[in-house]
């Protein structure tokens, strides 16, 4: 026979203060965990949404990032003549030679300045990515003009529409703001390839090549062809893979968040244990009565376990509610692959909240098990006699 859950709910409601205090303790623990997870989740979304599955990024052999890679125009021409590259409607190959630089801009969070990626590309490079202009216009070739990602526009007061930025050999005007969905493009500044490379004296010495394969089967073939061409001296990987690897930028924060949450969880499970032991002690007579009425030891154990669980789930729900306002708040972390900041939104999703609730349930069962066990073990007479 099962003791109805309403019994547990009413008991929790009677001891309002102690229930609330224990639940808030668990809630704060869950909040710490969920916010760390939401941050990493947002970062992951930004990187995973970057990169077209048909596109391949080629770098100088041995370099792990666009920043440390040097590619000459001759190599680009050589690479563009490989088989299996898609063509646009006017039958030009879809390949883009690009140059990546990092500049330093003061941001909202750090007035000392954070690093931002500047990408020089040709019109075909813009065409190969799914970006849309949300205000202003595209940069013109041969002009010192840049279009900034929406994350950059938000976080860097000096990179708003119409402003001028000083880098390379002169002033650059911000002429547009682009939206790359949730991709890493939002954290970049784009400008004309020739203008940027000449500003950095790197006309013949660019960073990377992005190519689109004709179809899905051509992707591995093309990657193989680039990697095996010793004369080319380049290595290729799917564009998406390059970005997914950068998710590791969030690893230190993820580690710290989980570490702190676990320590806090041990503390709050002790607190839950205290509360539940007090509940068991106070209801000793009730337990005896329940046993007299024919409820088994097992159902008493279960009932107290459920009560502990309900208590912690209440806490978990409070923790999730506490973190909910963080959803879609833009923040940024540095990325040691690109040596620049990536802006992204916190994402408190169903999955993160479920992990938070699961974590709360774990704390509750750890805290509820021993008290429930001691309640179930009481003999009827002993229980009835206790005051």
């Amino acid at each position: 026979m099962k003791i109805p859950i309403a019994y547990n709910l009413r008991n929790l409601a009677v001891r309002k203060t102690s229930t609330l205090m224990t639940a808030i303790g668990i809630g704060l623990t869950v909040a710490v965990l969920v916010s760390a997870l939401a941050l990493v989740n947002g970062l992951r979304t930004a990187f995973q949404n970057t990169g077209n599955p048909l596109q391949i990024l080629a770098l100088q052999k041995g370099s792990r990032s666009e920043l440390g890679s040097f590619v000459s125009r001759e190599k680009f021409d050589q690479l563009s003549s490989l088989e299996g590259i898609a063509r646009d409607h006017s039958s030009n190959v879809l390949a883009s030679l690009e140059m990546v630089q990092v500049i330093n801009l003061p941001s909202v969070d750090s007035p000392k300045g954070m690093n931002v990626t500047v990408r020089g590309l040709s019109p075909s490079g813009v065409e190969m990515r799914s970006v849309r202009l949300i205000s202003g216009r595209w940069f013109q070739t041969g002009q010192r003009e840049v279009v900034v990602g929406k994350g950059v526009a938000k976080r860097y007061p000096r990179a708003r529409l119409g402003q001028h930025l000083r880098f390379g050999k002169g002033d650059w005007e911000v002429v547009g703001i682009m939206d790359g969905g949730q991709s890493a493009v939002n954290s970049e500044l784009w400008g004309d390839l020739n203008q940027i490379s000449s500003d950095y004296n790197r006309q013949g010495n660019l960073s990377s090549v992005l190519v689109r394969a004709a179809d899905a089967t051509a992707v591995p073939t093309l990657i193989g062809a680039i990697n095996d061409d010793l004369q080319l001296g380049m290595s290729a990987m799917p564009e998406a893979e390059y970005y997914t690897k950068q998710t590791s930028a969030g690893a230190p924060i993820e580690f710290a968040g989980i570490f702190i949450a676990v320590i806090m969880a041990v503390g709050s499970s002790f607190a839950a244990m205290n509360t539940m032991y007090a509940a068991v002690a106070r209801r000793s007579k009730e337990i005896g009565t329940l046993r007299v009425l024919g409820f088994s030891r097992g159902s008493i154990l279960l009932s107290f376990l459920i009560e502990g669980l309900l208590l912690s789930l209440l806490g978990g729900a409070m923790g999730c509610l506490l973190v909910l306002p963080l959803n879609n708040v833009t923040t940024g972390v540095g990325n040691f692959v690109t040596f620049s900041e990536i802006a992204f939104n916190f994402r408190v999703g169903l999955a993160t909240m479920s992990i938070g609730m699961l974590f709360a349930a774990l704390v509750g069962s750890a805290g509820g098990l021993f008290p429930a066990w001691s309640a179930a073990r009481k003999s009827i007479l002993e229980a009835l006699r206790e005051s």
């Binding site: 041995g62 969070d109 924060i253 607190a271 032991y277 106070r282």
Partner: protein, 393 residues
């Protein structure tokens, strides 16, 4: 007074399980709080510097370490009044033996053997080894920590295969040095790197960092701003800062660390407050009837208040002490682990629980326990004798 203390201790031992759980819970939270304080101190409060560090500044590209500065800057920086010596460093990205083994990853820099030791007096290298390092172009020196880790002895042949630079360096170990930081690092002659780079390579004639030694401590801020002003409008603007600030800039790269530490500390403190308030009010409620008996025996309200609050303070103190001790152990372990790393985590090497921090934690523990006991204790002390004697737990 003594009998009060006796009662307080006896009372706290009455429900051993509850007391243990409360102490454990407070101890864990306070351990975390102390750890966060220690991290905050290591990052944001200037740690003690060696006399060499106090005189030194680092100049690097304003944008990032990965960008090169022309070697010509060295002579220009030397001209600035207050500068005693300048030396350049260049990171060499490459592979030693099997790159997948993390033991084979260590910092390696191309340096100028003649200038380097002037700016870095704390690097202790036997004179004969220093001489060999200056004379032989393919010579290199390693820190004692690195040599011990990889089992190197003098005369070891070390081959570094460049990753983005298509060159291979064949170095021979001529010296093993001691330095207070105990880091894993290898230095070799920059002339060897310059000569190995193909002509026209953009990495020729470039450095990544300049370490600048000033005449006196008072010159440091002036020299730093003079260097940055000198190159402000050049294609490679610089950023000059102290060694500590330089390491910290890596940390700030991880996001808003300060805010993160503050927010978590607040959450932790608030959680302890809840835990202890909850326990104390539970134990006080249980004791309502007893309070009535104490009152009939002639105990005053103030005395009863003191006994209950005292019990809570004792529990808080015990939790605080335990928390402090475990935080000290954790800090020592983290500091030791960070010292072996070769990256920005080095900054956590100075992680420690200072006496001031420990006393702060204890004060917080006692204060929180006292505050949380006060409300239930007051209501217990105020209850009339008849009411409390009639109370049924």
């Amino acid at each position: 007074m003594r009998e009060y203390f006796f009662m307080v201790v006896k009372n706290s031992l009455r429900s051993r399980r509850r007391t243990t759980l409360t102490i454990a819970s407070i101890a864990i939270s306070l351990c975390l709080l102390t750890l966060l304080l220690a991290v905050y101190r290591a990052l944001f409060l200037a740690p003690e510097q060696t006399s060499g560090q106090a005189l030194r500044v680092v100049t690097h590209h304003k944008v990032s370490l990965t960008q090169d500065l022309p070697l010509s800057y060295e002579r220009k920086i030397e001209q600035i009044p207050g500068v005693k010596a300048v030396t350049s460093l260049r990171w060499f990205g490459g592979v030693y033996k099997d790159a997948s083994d993390p033991r084979n990853q260590f910092a390696r820099f191309a340096i100028e053997p003649s200038e380097f030791f002037k700016v870095y007096p704390e690097v202790e290298l036997p004179e004969q080894q220093a001489l060999a390092f200056q004379e032989q172009k393919t010579a290199c020196i390693a820190s004692r920590a690195l040599a011990a880790r990889l089992g190197w002895t003098l005369g070891e042949q070390i081959v570094l295969v460049g990753d983005t630079t298509p060159i291979t360096l064949e170095l021979s170990l001529v010296g093993i040095f001691d330095e207070p930081g105990n880091t894993s690092v290898l230095y070799f002659n920059r002339a060897y790197l310059e000569d190995s780079l193909p002509p026209g390579d953009p990495r020729r004639g470039a450095a990544q960092q300049y370490y600048v030694e000033t005449q006196s401590k008072d010159d440091v801020p002036r020299v730093a701003s003079a260097i940055d002003a000198l190159f402000e409008n050049s294609p490679a603007p610089t950023m000059t800062e102290s060694e500590h600030a330089f390491m910290l800039s890596f940390m700030s790269f991880l996001g808003n660390v300060k805010l993160f530490l503050m927010a978590i500390s607040c959450a932790v403190t608030f959680t302890i407050l809840l835990v202890s308030a909850n326990t104390i009010s539970m134990s006080t409620r249980e004791r309502f009837r007893e309070v009535g008996i104490l009152k009939t025996l002639g105990f005053s309200r103030a005395e009863i208040l003191m006994i209950i609050v005292g019990e809570s303070a004792v529990i808080g103190l015990a939790g605080g002490a335990l928390g402090c001790m475990s935080a000290t152990l954790l800090c020592t372990a983290i500091a030791r682990a960070a010292g072996h790393g070769s990256n920005f985590l080095q900054i956590l090497k100075s992680l420690a629980v200072t006496p001031a921090m420990a006393s702060l934690t204890l004060v917080v523990a006692v204060a929180i326990a006292t505050v949380s006991a006060f409300v239930p204790a007051l209501s217990a002390a105020r209850t009339s004798i008849v009411e409390s004697l009639g109370h049924t737990g």
